[in-house]
């Protein structure tokens, strides 16, 4: 850790959880290095307190104090971060974070608790085009979390279990309420949990594949947001893309959930240097 180096923190405020990262850069804001990460579920607590806790945790992990931080950047519901210096819109932050995690990706699929977005990017991570799901919750992680709770299956087991499916049962891909009714019917008909979950993954995935097709996405598509941790969902997406003969390859990264926070931290360093140089 060089004294001249600069440090930033990125905070991604989602509807379900807070993701924070601390990063280090050289004095020109280049050569980004991830120092610390934290993912803190809100769980009906005061979101502002959770944000503060998460921020302090990454500072401790990175052995930094608040005064060492050149730029605190928020993304997502950033107005909750009172102590931010700047805010970046979620697509801007996710695209930069995604390319930090996988520089070869040229499209990003961000699937969070409430919304899903697909966007294509250039090699600088500038967003070239985007498509979003409408407000219906059936395209989101919150829906999947609800279903796992109804089925009594821990969320972290959902992905592996769905990979064991033999005859997946499709659910409504348009309305969460209808989809939940479908699931209740399936349970009463004795359909296995694996087949139900795979069917849900495919139904959700079909909507997202349509977003990517509308963008003419090609090559590597990196998943970001909470759903990136669900390997069954990723497999279902790839299956659908292959069926549609689309030239795309889905990829994930162990830090995919932090892409927004990482992107915010990197753009924060960029802005810090730009503002510093303007003053000089």
């Amino acid at each position: 850790m060089w004294l001249d180096n600069l440090f930033t923190v990125g905070i991604d405020v989602g509807s379900n959880s807070i993701k924070s990262v601390a990063m280090e850069f050289d004095t020109n804001g280049k050569t980004p290095k991830l120092l610390a990460t934290d993912l803190n579920k809100i769980r009906k607590r005061d979101a502002k307190q959770v944000i503060r806790q998460s921020f302090e945790l990454v500072l401790r992990q990175a052995k930094l104090s608040e005064g060492d931080i050149a730029y605190i950047a928020s993304t997502g519901e950033g107005d909750m971060v009172d102590f931010r210096r700047g805010h970046f819109y979620s697509m801007t932050a996710h695209s930069r974070g995604a390319l930090f995690l996988n520089p070869d990706a040229r499209a990003v699929l961000d699937v969070g608790a409430l919304h899903a977005k697909a966007f294509t990017v250039d090699e600088r991570s500038k967003v070239l085009g985007y498509r979003m799901t409408s407000q219906c919750a059936s395209g989101s992680g919150q829906f999947l979390e609800n279903i796992s709770r109804y089925l009594g299956i821990p969320l972290e087991d959902v992905g592996n279990l769905s990979l064991q499916a033999t005859t997946p049962e499709m659910v409504s891909g348009i309305c969460a309420v209808l989809a939940e009714t479908d699931v209740i019917n399936m349970v009463s008909r004795g359909i296995s949990a694996a087949d139900i979950l795979k069917g849900i993954h495919l139904s959700m995935g079909r909507r997202l594949i349509n977003l990517l097709r509308a963008l003419n996405a090609e090559g590597q598509v990196i998943l970001t947001g909470g759903l990136a941790a669900n390997n069954g969902f990723v497999a279902a997406l790839q299956e659908l893309a292959d069926q549609e003969k689309m030239e795309i390859r889905f990829c994930i990264h162990e830090l995919s959930a932090y892409a927004g926070a990482v992107g915010a931290a990197i753009w924060g360093a960029f802005r810090h240097v730009k503002l510093r140089d303007q003053v000089a």
């Binding site: 730029y71 210096r85 805010h87 970046f88 819109y89 500038k126 802005r271």
Partner: protein, 391 residues
């Protein structure tokens, strides 16, 4: 109402109470205390000095925002037009505007012209006047016409109030409004210099209070706010500086103003609540006050879509504002079906393109409740300027 030495929070709470009070308690109290009358007016170019000089309270009306569900008002206008005339009618027929003894409808668009006609039919016992403004700015043509209009208005106001209005009273009113315009300019200058210190949400509420409060009281409030806010410690933000254009009549909901700020924009200039600041310089206080008011209107007035500009001139005023405030872009916000704002927009956009000034555009209505899409749009606009220097 005494704001002396008030904190920022207290001042803003007072403004919020005034903003939320669709029963106009302040106006009723003022009338009782002063045994006077109140005259409501719609945007933009109303010479409030004349109402004031006649001993009456001029009150700016800007619709009901998102505070009132329009039920009966919808029966009076087409459902697709802007909200402000319908919410104004709704307030009137639900007796909320009974405290007004007269109404002034300045020429701004056909809808407001129709509203003035309806008023005369619906409330024949109340004074109502449709005010036309010169679109020819030569003193011997438009100036003379407007001077005559002001003479008629002065006679009407004197008749309505039952008081004789002297030239000295008029000059004194002009002085008070000059003072008010000066402190408002100071407020705008401070926001432009230190936008993190003066959130637009607060500035807007203070401007809305200018619609209601007696002018000296509003001047004192702005002075108190300026004193209090300068000693506030507020975090600096890395936001882009934008000019907001098109909001001169129907007003954006408060939540929309907050959404714009939270999406990474410092609004450093705007065109809302222009009734209190449409005159850019102090009006002369020597000589004939009505001639002075007419001359000021011709020469030193903010440009809006309701004011004629010669071919090719549209947009130059906006560009001047961008340069003066060192803004990095323009946000065009216009109420749905606002003909003046939406017809002027393409001309302004062309001018901005030629000047290489980035902009983004959207529409709203005063009763809108969801701003996610607008927030995404303006957030992306802010990011583009911050990171790529263009859109």
């Amino acid at each position: 109402m005494n704001n002396t030495n008030s904190t920022v929070t207290q001042i803003i709470e007072t403004c919020e109470r005034l903003y939320n009070d669709l029963d106009f308690s302040y106006v009723k109290n003022w009338k009782q205390t002063h045994a006077g009358k109140a005259v409501g007016f719609m945007p933009i170019y109303v010479p409030r000095e004349i109402v004031h000089a006649a001993g009456m309270l001029p009150v700016g009306l800007m619709g009901a925002g998102d505070l009132l569900e329009i039920i009966k008002g919808d029966a009076y206008f087409q459902s697709y037009i802007c909200q402000i005339p319908r919410s104004t009618i709704e307030m009137a027929i639900s007796n909320r505007l009974d405290c007004f003894d007269g109404m002034l409808f300045p020429a701004i668009c056909d809808v407001i012209r129709n509203l003035s006609g309806m008023w005369k039919l619906m409330f024949p016992e109340k004074y109502a006047r449709y005010m036309d403004f010169p679109q020819n700015f030569r003193p011997e043509v438009g100036g003379e016409y407007y001077h005559q209009e002001l003479i008629i208005l002065l006679k009407d106001m004197a008749t309505l109030s039952g008081a004789k209005v002297t030239q000295d009273q008029l000059r004194q009113s002009v002085r008070l409004y000059n003072e008010n315009r000066a402190v408002i300019r100071e407020l705008y200058d401070l926001r432009s210099a230190d936008p993190h210190l003066v959130p637009t949400y607060e500035l807007y509420l203070i401007m809305r209070a200018s619609n209601i409060l007696e002018v000296s009281e509003h001047t004192a409030m702005v002075r108190d706010y300026l004193g209090a806010v300068r000693s506030e410690k507020r975090p600096e933000r890395d936001n882009i500086r934008v000019v907001l254009s098109g909001v001169f009549c129907e007003q954006p909901p408060l939540a929309l103003i907050r959404a714009l700020e939270n999406s990474g924009c410092f609004i450093v200039e705007d065109d809302w609540v222009l009734g209190a600041r449409y005159l850019l310089k102090a009006v002369a206080t020597e000589g004939d006050p009505l001639e002075n008011l007419a001359a000021a209107y011709l020469k030193d007035t903010v440009k809006t879509a309701s004011r004629y500009e010669e071919d090719g001139a549209k947009g130059s005023y906006l560009i001047d504002l961008v340069e003066k405030t060192r803004a990095e872009g323009v946000i065009f916000a216009a109420p749905s079906f606002c003909d003046p704002a939406l017809l002027e927009r393409p001309m302004q956009q062309e001018a901005l393109k030629r000047a290489d000034i980035p902009y983004t555009s959207f529409k709203y209505s005063e009763s809108s409740g969801q701003f996610q899409v607008i927030k995404e749009q303006t957030g992306t606009f802010a990011d583009s300027i911050k990171l790529w220097g263009s859109v």
